[in-house]
């Protein structure tokens, strides 16, 4: 089930995380100026690789209806007299309208691009005027508009060199892998509650088996199940998702770091499951508590929604979720090419969480047996 879930989510969310692909932005232009400046501005916007210009129309009402209905995401209006008034005391403002369902962040992105292209048109004209005013074109030969593209390309290139941002499969496989590992609490707690209520643990205790052995007797097999599940889900990300048209999961450069993270998450998840199993009085209670607590930990931990899109307060709260520690550790391995040293702190946190859960589970188990 979790494997199928990972497969579907990786394919379904491919577009959302497509950093190396194109952001498809559609726009339309209402050019009421028809000047050299408006043509240059339109040309600059049209040359942007992520922008797709919709079929032109001179009918303002039709274009406004088009953007209102979501036929295009943006409508740029260049008012009549825009080019002529550009370098006067009373310049005319461009108009920008966005379709109702466009995300605010995309509106800001388009607005920034529009401002950049408008500034280039403005500066290009200003440089020509300056050269003409000086009567010596060589005096402004160092002022090259194209240099802006080179200058701003620096930071973007540096960011890319630091590592790619997560693709759908890079985000989804570790996120849902962690989620599935923590959901092992449902079968484990149901089995535990059943065996406790039917007297099996009482009988085993009467044979002289210590309580820690009973806990270990559940911890180890479920740990093995979780590890097998992890291997299967990673294999899906590496081999199956690309065969179905998605991106392949890159497992990073350190198999040891990956193994440590898988082991740490699995241990934390099974220990937490044992704690829930011992706290619950019935199978229903265990299932309900597992479902709700896992969903909360998953939401806070960035499994459902990446944490970078959350408000700061929620991001801070997410730092308390073991799922966040696990996810950050996996992303360290997959995206930041982290090794053992990089993931060790997060693996340590998960191990500490697992040990604490296990100790509490043992304590509750003892109290249960003693009424």
């Amino acid at each position: 089930m979790p494997t199928a879930f990972i497969l579907i989510m990786s394919l379904a969310m491919r577009g959302l995380f497509a950093s190396h692909g194109r952001v498809a932005v559609s726009w339309a232009l209402l050019d009421q100026d028809r000047s050299g400046a408006s043509a240059e501005l339109a040309g600059r916007l049209a040359r942007r690789p992520d922008f797709r210009r919709a079929a032109a129309s001179a009918d303002p009402a039709a274009l406004q209806q088009l953007v209102r209905s979501g036929g295009v995401q943006f409508l740029v209006t260049i008012p009549s007299g825009f080019g002529r008034a550009m370098r006067t005391a009373r310049p005319l403002a461009l108009g920008l309208a966005a379709a109702p369902d466009v995300e605010p962040v995309l509106v800001r992105l388009f607005d920034a691009c529009l401002r950049e292209d408008t500034a280039k048109v403005y500066l290009g004209g200003a440089m020509q005027e300056l050269a003409a005013g000086l009567g010596d074109p060589s005096a402004v030969k160092g002022l090259r508009l194209e240099n802006i593209d080179v200058l701003v390309a620096g930071p973007a290139t540096a960011g890319a060199a630091a590592g790619p941002s997560p693709s759908a499969v890079q985000q989804n496989v570790p996120a849902w892998l962690i989620f599935a590992m923590f959901f092992i609490a449902i079968p484990l707690s149901n089995t535990w509650v059943q065996e406790r209520s039917q007297g099996t643990y009482g009988r085993l205790l009467s044979l002289g088996l210590p309580r820690w052995k009973l806990l270990l007797g559940k911890l180890l097999p479920y740990l093995a199940v979780n590890l097998a599940q992890a291997a299967l889900m990673l294999a899906v990300g590496v081999w199956l998702v690309p065969r179905l048209g998605g991106d392949a999961l890159d497992l990073g450069r350190s198999p040891w770091a990956l193994a440590l993270m898988v082991l740490a998450v699995s241990f934390a998840a099974v220990s937490y499951a044992l704690l829930i199993a011992n706290l619950a009085r019935s199978s229903e209670q265990a299932s309900l508590f597992t479902g709700v607590s896992n969903l909360l930990l998953a939401v806070l931990g960035g499994v459902m929604v990446p944490r970078f899109v959350m408000p700061a307060a929620l991001q801070a709260a997410g730092n308390l979720s073991p799922m966040a520690w696990g996810l950050d550790g996996f992303l360290d391995v997959f995206l930041r090419q982290g090794g053992l040293a990089q993931v060790a702190p997060r693996a340590g946190l998960l191990a500490a969480f697992g040990c604490l859960s296990l100790a509490l589970a043992a304590r509750v188990f003892t109290r249960h047996q003693r009424g």
């Binding site: 065996e195 209520s197 039917q198 007297g199 099996t200 009482g202 009988r203 085993l204 205790l205 009467s206 044979l207 002289g208 088996l209 109290r367 047996q369 003693r370 009424g371």
Partner: protein, 250 residues
């Protein structure tokens, strides 16, 4: 010989003591009936005797050994057959026996011979491959007992071993208990079926509210009841109701 002196035990969740100064002497080789209404303290007593609950130091001695100090040794030669069907329903009859033999620490040929013996004693050999959850009520009860026979115990604690089964299975189990007892095993037997206890046990104790209301050889106790005009056929039940009163406990 099991000697219990002023045994007290309270559950943390309950203000009333489950056992309140219980003193008993159970002779070695006895078939000892422990009677009492629901909540009287029978299961708590067996849980302490089997080590599921921690026995208080100095309160219980088995063959002269303090139970709390020698728990592991005494557990190795005793066995509890709980009231619940305490085995793994998805395992077969034989797998359950093998699992519990392993949990006892037996392996190899020793484990195999103990499993075969338990299968034979409980007449489970034809059903050894059957999944426990698919067994009839009687088979399940016999499997529950068979698991308790794996260590060839010298002390066997049977907590209501015949609940919910047909007369044939009950008869088989009662005869099995007699055979085990005849082989020298001390048996402590709790049941709500008075006729079973009357037919099986030579000594009886009646517990209620965590206290011993009566204890002694069955004939002696029934003789006292007969002096009061009780019916011999219903003697133990009459005695039980007289001692514990007839008000409902659940």
């Amino acid at each position: 010989m099991i000697e219990v002196k002023s045994l007290r035990f309270s559950y943390p969740s309950s203000p009333a003591p489950a056992l309140d100064g219980v003193s008993l002497r159970i002779p070695k080789g006895a078939l000892y009936g422990l009677l009492g209404p629901n909540g009287s303290g029978k299961t708590t007593f067996l849980s302490l005797l089997s080590g599921i609950l921690p026995p208080p130091p100095g309160a219980i001695a088995v063959d002269g050994q303090d139970l709390s100090a020698h728990l592991r040794q005494i557990q190795a030669r005793s066995a509890l057959v709980p009231q619940e069907l305490a085995f793994y329903p998805r395992m077969s009859v034989q797998e359950n026996l093998e699992f519990f033999a392993g949990a006892r620490g037996y392996s190899g040929e020793d484990a195999r011979s103990r499993v075969d013996e338990a299968l034979r004693l409980a007449a489970l050999a034809p059903n050894r491959g059957q999944r426990a959850e698919h067994c009839s009520g009687g088979l399940k009860r016999r499997l529950n007992i068979a698991i308790g026979l794996l260590n060839r115990p010298s002390l066997l604690l049977l907590d209501e071993p015949t609940v919910g089964i047909d007369p044939q299975s009950r008869n088989f189990i009662l005869q099995g208990v007699r055979d085990i007892h005849a082989a020298g095993t001390t048996v402590i037997y709790t049941s709500h079926y008075m006729e079973e206890v009357q037919a099986l046990c030579d000594t009886v104790a009646v517990l209620d509210h965590g206290r011993v209301l009566a204890e002694g050889p069955l004939d002696s106790l029934l003789g006292d009841a007969a002096l009061d005009g009780g019916d011999r056929a219903r003697g133990l039940e009459q005695l039980f109701l007289t001692l514990t009163r007839s008000d409902l406990r659940d």
